[in-house]
């Protein structure tokens, strides 16, 4: 049974070995190798493989579809960065900055096609089910991005709407990766469903933690200035929950601060301090930490529903250790 490091290394090696990046015209595939070569935790393929070995199957059963999930994820980053006009990712210029918007659009399309090719190499006995899962992921992620863009210009996004958006934009792919691993392993329908629900809760918790760390991370470890979402007036869980728990006067102040366009760096630093002070009045940080904890507990409950006789204890430990580590928690 393989641990996280082995699975991550297998993913790296698998991506590097894909023939497609050597196709012509090289200019079409260069952005793909650029983003896929930036490493990262490879969460999605790792989860697919961990799900597969959870049910006692060799990770090889889902290896190519797992790579497809990573390629798909990176395709969405290319297109999202064009749509969101994001200039940096992982500390490097985004594709539409390094090349241009057309390169990001078209290389993204080619990556989506390459992802489909990889997923289509699931073994034929589980192929229809794997494809159903993958295509549902793909549509869900598009729907999530659409909501995300629409929320930018809406002043009245509710917490429930925000949760539905991040479910589609983030959690569906996490849940779907586990689901595809389970399907490829030949797990029973009910167990695959529990695994999906587990992934869904975990995916939501990841996003909430992301939103939290943007403001409260240890700056030395974080690698960039904290409070980036506040500087960009981005509506995150913190902001929407913050509005929900603030009194009327503070809610108004928060809205006003988030309606101010970003100006000088000093003014922005000042704005982050003021927003943070408002958040502290309601103990927002602990409230959000509690919400993440709750999601983590709900995830745990989903996982425990899986038929214990169908899974490997070692496989479960590898999976839960990995997920707990990502969330900075212990299982």
């Amino acid at each position: 049974m393989k641990d996280y490091d082995q699975l991550r290394q297998a993913t790296e090696a698998g991506i590097a070995a894909l023939d497609i990046w050597r196709n012509e015209p090289r200019s079409l595939y260069a952005p793909a190798t650029y983003v896929l070569g930036q490493g990262g935790k490879r969460i999605r393929p790792v989860l697919a493989m961990m799900a597969c070995q959870l049910f006692g199957k060799d990770t090889q059963e889902v290896f190519l579809p797992a790579l497809g999930l990573e390629v798909f994820h990176n395709f969405t980053l290319l297109h999202d960065d064009v749509m969101d006009k994001a200039e940096m990712r992982h500390g490097k210029p985004t594709v539409h900055v390094k090349w241009n918007a057309n390169a990001a659009i078209l290389s993204g399309d080619a990556m989506f096609a390459a992802a489909c090719s990889l997923v289509a190499q699931a073994s034929v006995n589980c192929l229809p089910e794997v494809l159903r899962a993958f295509n549902a992921i793909a549509l869900g992620v598009c729907e999530g991005q659409q909501y995300d863009m629409e929320f930018e210009s809406r002043p009245d996004v509710t917490l429930a709407e925000y949760m539905e958006m991040i479910r589609l934009k983030t959690a569906v792919l996490i849940a779907g990766s586990l689901q595809i691993g389970g399907i490829a392993a030949g797990a029973g329908k009910a167990d695959v469903r529990h695994l999906y629900d587990y992934g869904n809760k975990i995916g939501l918790a990841f996003q909430l933690q992301d939103d939290l760390l943007d403001l409260y991370a240890d700056q030395a470890k974080f690698g960039k200035k904290t409070g980036g979402d506040i500087r960009e007036n981005k509506k995150t869980y913190l902001f929407i929950k913050g509005l929900e728990v603030a009194d009327e006067a503070d809610g108004k102040r928060l809205r006003e601060l988030f309606a101010t366009p970003a100006r000088s760096q000093e003014e922005n630093d000042e704005k982050v301090i003021r927003v943070k002070a408002l958040y502290e009045k309601t103990n927002l940080r602990s409230l959000v930490e509690k919400d993440i904890e709750d999601l983590f507990e709900q995830a745990r409950a989903e996982l425990s529903k899986i038929d214990a006789t169908a899974i490997s204890a070692q496989g479960k430990k590898i999976l839960t250790d990995f997920v707990a580590g990502l969330l900075g928690r212990e299982y």
Copy 2:
């Protein structure tokens, strides 16, 4: 056995009946219904179904994948129009003009995902082969668009390079549609290959005819001003072949005319007249018509290689009548 009109109507009805257009958020799916609702000849799904009944199978065998091919084709139009900054298509504003570039990118992505879902509904015994064909189409079309964009800024594109570009950008989808129809019908590998090669030649002939009609169409029937490619300095088969057959002085004049940015309508009309006069010196129109005729003959030869005992004479007549009609030719 169904004729063209019946197959086109079945395509229209099938597209209109797809559940996906009723998904939320509606804003994501509105551009898809906008472009798919504009009708058109539905060449690709019709060809897939005609290929299926050529081998004596009911078109139902390939109906959903055929719809997927049409959705896929329309996805490529959305993205191409953004990349090419095209403002009109089929006499209507393009999606990025009617909405915005982000809508065209993201709705396009959702259409690609929807296309994958439809193709994935091929019957399980031919599913891996159908997916291989579809994924090869998808990558090929991206590669073709990349070459097309790169050729814009290259002064030295050869006729062979141009043919390879249109093979990827246009012919691969025509050929692949027939191929998928053949696979779904359970045709033999060699016959599917002949059908693909037939479609490839037909696809190339379509594009050359498109390039030709842009300048030489009967304006009353054409629905827009002729010579649009010349006005936009677009390198088409006419221009590249025109350069190849012109003497040195005329070649230089042609290059100069195509290097002039479009200005007033009068100047553009004058430019079209001057380019046309240069083309006429080498009888370019007949030369290109001959090239189309040659491709049509080559296509015919490919089709005749298919095992005659495996196909329906009526199915063959329906297919060849349709294709000949598209090319304004008799079989």
